[in-house]
């Protein structure tokens, strides 16, 4: 089977890869930190977050710090597994290069 077929289409975008990579190594992260890390506009980031959320890969937690909203994100078990499979597929493709 062609290993490219094992790649997860949801992770096609750099922004989504960025969000998932960050969440894999951090327990949780809020919108502003994520925005600064990935270096994208609010709207762009929000749409990619929504796509990941709809796939069940990340969980949105709405909270407050004082009166300000503080939305944080965590990766779900499904998301973790999907990302690990995606990583494995990427590695397989690279190994095929030799």
């Amino acid at each position: 089977m062609n290993p490219i077929e094992n790649l997860n289409k949801t992770f096609d975008s750099r922004v989504r890869l960025g969000i998932m990579s960050t969440l894999m190594v951090n327990d949780q992260i809020n919108f502003n930190d994520l925005k600064q890390l990935i270096n994208v506009t609010d709207g762009n980031l929000a749409s990619h977050i929504k796509a990941l959320e709809e796939n069940g890969y990340i969980k949105v937690n709405k909270g407050f710090i004082g009166k300000k909203t503080n939305t944080t994100y965590t990766v779900t078990k499904v998301g973790k597994k999907a990302f690990e499979q995606h990583l494995a597929a990427l590695e397989k493709i690279i190994k095929g290069m030799k």
Partner: protein, 226 residues
Amino acid sequence: MDAQNQSLKDLQHIKQMMERSTRFISLSGLSGISAGVCALTGAWFAYSKLSLYNHEHTLFYNKDHGRYIFKDSMSLLINDLLLIASLTFIAAFITAFLFTYLRSKKNGTPLWGTTTFRLFWNTIIPLVAGGLFLLRSIDLEQYGLIAPGCLIFYGLALVNASKYTLGEVRYLGYGQIFIGIINLWMIGYGLYFWAAGFGVLHIVYGLLMWLKYEREASTQPPTISE
């Protein structure tokens, strides 16, 4: 091979994002150099103070401690040395902060974020423990332990901090611990070891880091399209 190159780039991007989100990467090599220069300047001041006092051989017999001490001039000397040490630390901290602040502005990463807090917390624990140890050493008049104590605890703080910032900081930490431990068996030469560790090692480390990461203009993080 397009798919393979793309995969390689994706993996590099993933690795970079993981590092950027967990480590404080704005630490500038120039900070190391400036801290080292401050340390050497401080050591030079301390050295001239010490050589000055050595000429005043006014020994007093202290009954409480059962030995000869440089009464009065000794406590004055300690006050002066503590003042020099504090000023050196403040100058080193301010200049180091300044260069790191400039770098974080240049590459667009926030200075005060989760990664900074984590780095700060993990550095401060060994430093506070070491600071208390040194204050008590002064109380007990174990002055010979001050320089090696500074070096060893600072080295441990760096090794601990290296998990939360540029990994190379670990080697600077090993160097400080190594110099500090040698100093433990050469008590009395503390100022030289102190200058070697805080001065020379910082400058060498800072220079290497600057050459590795900052000399080229390519420190800008890639902007992500899509």
